[in-house]
Amino acid sequence: MSVTSELERGTGSPDVATGIVDCDVHPLLKQGFASLYPYMPLAWRERFERKRAGQAAAGLIMRFAHPNGFIVREDASPRDGEFAGSDPHFLVSDLLDANDIGICALNSLQTGAMCAVLASADESLIIASAANDYYIEEWLPIDRRLRYAIVVPSQDPNASASEIRRVGKHSQICAVAVPPIAIALGNRYWWPIYEAAQELDLPIFLHVTGAEGIYAGAPMPAGGLPDTYIERYVTLSQAAEANLTSLIMNGIFERFPRLRVLFVEYGFVWPLPAMLRMDRLWRGLRHEVPWVKKSPIEYVAEHVWFTTQPIEEPADPRDLERIVKMIGVDNLCFSTDYPHWDNDMPMQSLRMLAPADRDKIMRQNARNVLRLS
């Protein structure tokens, strides 16, 4: 059966085992921060309520506000006045059923930003656990196709490791989302998280939280503060490049030989210059980092994956095919980024590729990365 005909038919009940795997879907807390209160100890709930934490959890500063007002698609709202991504039943029919998606990885940026910098370290532990319990209880029982990347309080790696061990065995947990802070991912600071993730066979998700370039403690864009949403968006992959380099040059994949890392929503053109440059420099400078035992390109092939969205669109689509080949057809995983405005939907994506390659990216590769039980 060809991929195309299967896609265009729209089966209505995509199969967990064979459907498209969407590696980046963003759920929202239905009642905002207040949704987490039932999952918190009373004292913490009272503290957050008293300080009106829900209001402090808001997002972008003016210069980085989306010029059209929202980053979520207005056509993906469940009902008038409800935010896209806040209703799991609607998401299942609007995204999964309609697009032959057999598995989607839920990735809560909202709580990621709180854990990275918006909340204090102590608060972030409570928020991460409450958010994980919220999604595990209120979303995952609804459909087996829904999988969840647990969010960890990245300001405290040991607490993060405990959280991974606390909830990581649930069969619909597919990954560990590590909200980036201003410490490069190859730093020993992160070892407890990698150890726990490897122990539970969970890959690491890296994704911007939205706090980048705004709050102290979040990763900063290189070169100076961008002026606009577009400028910031274009430069967000700088942090991915820095972190990929840091992971490899610090020998993380030698230290944690079963660790898998998925770079989510950074696109997939940026790794190419980084990979080529790492390989070239490694030939002359490897003695500075002798634990990098082989070409960095080989570590990428074995341990690192990239989601496809947002897909760049060169004038000649064959250029993109060439880039896909250079990055590695086996190392790209399809993602929609639903319900955000810059989503890539399956019908339109990567049509220039040979059907077998496209099938790998849409359905197979992610099954080698996510823990799917």
Partner: protein, 138 residues
């Protein structure tokens, strides 16, 4: 099998050749560095890096920090590794291979003979007169 005609080029007294340094012999288009390895072997190397053509015999002769566990540092093979002065690629003076590469580039070695305490290079007759065009000895 016919042995190609070869000629000898005098390098100098055997005692002149010491570890850690090349003596450079230039004759016509030939440019060759000759040194003594730790084990006493005389090594003659084309003075041109297989990567981008640097005068590699002006690089460092030293050891290497071989692949090691994260955080550990080992040191090995002192005097047997040649590091290019341009981009720092490491070459094994025993085998000529670029180190740690799945498909290594290679140094070009020349044969030497020792006679009455003098060292001679053995090169194809006329080698010093031929235009040397290839960019890589790999």
């Amino acid at each position: 099998m016919a042995i190609p005609e070869r000629e000898e080029i005098l390098v100098g007294d055997a005692a002149e050749l010491v570890e850690g340094k090349f003596k450079i012999i230039k004759q016509g288009t030939l440019n060759i560095g000759v040194t003594r390895l730790r084990d006493g072997t005389i090594r003659a190397v084309r003075n041109r890096c297989p990567h981008k053509g640097a005068a590699i015999c002006k690089g460092i002769i030293g050891g290497t920090w071989p692949p090691s566990a994260p955080g550990d540092l080992a040191y090995d093979r002192e005097g047997e590794i040649l590091v290019c002065p341009w981009h720092g690629f490491e070459y094994d003076l025993k085998t000529g291979d670029e180190l740690y590469r799945k498909v290594p580039t290679r140094l070009r070695f020349y044969e030497v003979i020792e006679r009455e305490r003098k060292i001679y290079l053995l090169v194809a007759r006329g080698a010093a007169d031929t235009q040397d065009s290839d960019a890589s000895a790999a």
